[in-house]
Amino acid sequence: MFEKIFIEKDIKDNTYTKKVLTHFKDTPIQYLDKVEDVWGRVKKPYLQKRTSLNLFIGKKMGELVKEAPDAYGMGEQKHYYFIHAYNCIYECQYCYLQGYFNSPDIVLFINHDEIIQQMQKKVDMNPDSWFHAGEFSDSLALSHITDEWSEYWDFFKKNKQAKLELRTKSVNIKSIINLEPLENVFVSFTLAGFEEGKKFDLKTPSVKARLKTIEKLVNKGFKIGIHFDPIIYTESTIESYNEIIGFIAKLIPKEKLGYISIGVVRFTKDVYREVERNYSDSSMLHQNFIKSFDGKVRYSTPMRMWILNTVKDICIKNNIDENVIYLCMEND
């Protein structure tokens, strides 16, 4: 899976480091002072993740829990994301990570105790804060290797008003399925239509497999969040979302569905350039994107409003409570 593993010298005996290494006994290891000595020092092309992916294990310094941008999550509460990893093993064609970091190599941070300490400080100020995992990586894709979530569970058991969101496209729930389902922890899945998922979410579990995983979690009593974001317009978008929303409405009982977010595909200029370079023949690119008011590349205003409202209407027609739906609008 990984060509080489780079480990910071100071944490080579850390429990999490050792746990990760048990999964990669034959992978060559190189020790370094800091992850940043190698990771991101040179521009490593994104698609080299297919053939030459390295793993870095280190300790994240500085701000570990950051305030989330606007349009992130629902409600009036404070929203934060925390950084426990960089990069992802999946390859979604629209993923902003391809233009965000200078390397596709995976970084795992092992100082979860320090992340939790910083979370506690935020909760002391705003007890009902939200904490999102999965901003710079998929929160569950490698969780059988990293096995950190039980530590976070303890925190959220104690701080019942605070909420945790694990954002994922993974079906890898091994590390959480036997944890006690908590009312304030949401496992949230990014979904698209079955065909769109196949076309644009490369190397991810299929949408069908994600639905099965949702079913398993619901049966165990977990609370679920759904992200229909980013929606990419194709000829069959509306049929696809009719189909998938129908499934969701049947699959998730009202009391278990925390929220549904709806957003339309958009890119920063840099990410769009990378997408063009990496997936030049993707049908996603052959659409009339425009440079928008904030410099982002997206569909025209009426088109994105039409998509957002149409998908929202489909949710409502399927008896999904309007109050759990929020639109990712970014100050449109």
Binding site: F6, Q30, L32, D37, V38, R41, V42, K43, K44, P45, Q48, T51, S52, N102, Y233, E235, D281, S283, L285, H286, Q287, N288, I290, K291, S292, F293, S300, T301, P302, M303, R304, M305, W306, I307, L308, N309, T310
Partner: protein, 333 residues
């Protein structure tokens, strides 16, 4: 014309001997042929960058091919084997951020250093970034990028970097050069097929370019053939219409555009309908055709009281809330 670059005269000897080339009178190390040129730059990033840039400034090259010997930083690579390079990195006092990638399926990267690698500690440091080390490739990539042309690189492994003292390249030069030249001869040039679309109606050069652009977009978006797209937009109907050729071209291009982006077309249609209260009285409505900026402007030549009254009435009757609804995504699709 292709430019073959090698650093050392010894490595290049089989190339200059066997290819039909003439030494250039002004640029030392440049040999010119009809379709190919060979440049011997001497060792190092600066020599390479300055010499290649000089050549690219004087002649039109469409590709640079770099050949040369290099050291392995990974014990799995074999001595005397030739590897194609994927990405080129550089290391001076520290790693250089810029990297240059050539189009290849190879998964071997190369890092170019300012100094020779004389100890294992340095070799280990470099191995974090690449499996092969040389002294020139990064400069080749840099120059190619500046000239907006592709490059390819093939490296013959001469030794394991940091493990051998400065070995005697002169004694092995001929054998290295023979291997590299024989490899070059086997290289096949695979040209990318150039797809051309032919419009079903004769049109101007500019419209033909637009047609090709639109058809390419539609083919890539829907994965249909050109024929199927033309069938879906009822091209035969346009061809058989009794109108001027210019009008047919305009309808054809508009239909393809609508086919690519049906929602924007519907939104524009709804806006135009709402604006018809102005256009009917001869006013021109200008709005952002990208549909990003909601505002619009009205232009009307006024030469009578009637014009002015018509405009006043139209402004009073204009349905601004309908306009806002369209921008909010409410239009029939």
């Amino acid at each position: 014309m292709k430019l073959i670059h090698l650093a050392h005269r010894g490595e290049a000897q089989e190339f200059t001997k066997n290819l039909d080339l003439v030494a250039h009178s002004e640029i030392n190390g440049l040999y010119l042929g009809e379709k190919i040129a060979v440049l011997i730059s001497d060792e190092g990033i600066y020599n390479t960058l300055s010499k290649i840039s000089l050549c690219l400034g004087k002649f039109k090259f469409d590709k640079i091919l770099n050949f040369g010997i290099a050291g392995a930083l990974d014990s799995k690579l074999e001595i005397d084997e030739i590897y194609q390079i994927r990405t080129s990195y550089s290391f001076g006092d520290k790693p250089e951020f810029k990297s240059f990638t050539s189009k290849t399926n190879s998964i071997i990267d190369c890092i170019s250093t300012h100094e020779r690698v004389l100890n294992l500690e340095f070799a280990n440091k470099l191995s974090s970034f690449a499996k092969i080390v040389d002294r020139e490739l990064w400069a080749v990539g840099f120059a190619a990028k500046q000239a907006n042309i592709p490059f390819e690189s093939y490296k013959l492994i001469s030794d394991y970097a940091g493990k051998t003292d400065c070995f005697d390249i002169k004694n092995k030069a001929l054998s290295f050069s023979e291997k590299l030249f024989s490899f070059y001869q086997k290289l096949e040039d695979i040209e990318t097929p150039n797809y051309q679309y032919t419009p079903p109606i004769s049109m101007s050069f500019t419209n033909k370019a637009r047609y090709e652009k639109l058809i390419t977009l539609a083919v890539n978006k829907y994965e249909y053939t050109e024929e199927l797209i033309l069938e879906k937009i009822n091209t035969h109907e346009i061809i058989n219409e009794k109108i001027r050729e210019k009008a047919k071209v305009s309808i054809l291009l508009n239909r393809i555009e609508e086919f690519i982006n049906p929602i924007n077309t519907k939104a524009k249609f709804a806006l135009d309908q709402n604006f018809s209260i102005f256009t009917k009285i001869g006013a021109k409505v200008n709005y952002d055709k990208n549909l990003e900026n909601k505002s619009f402007s009205l232009v009307m030549e006024i030469n009578s009281q009637t014009n002015l009254d018509n405009l006043k009435r139209s402004i009073d009757l204009f349905n601004m809330s309908k306009h806002n609804q369209i921008w909010n995504g409410s239009f029939d699709v």
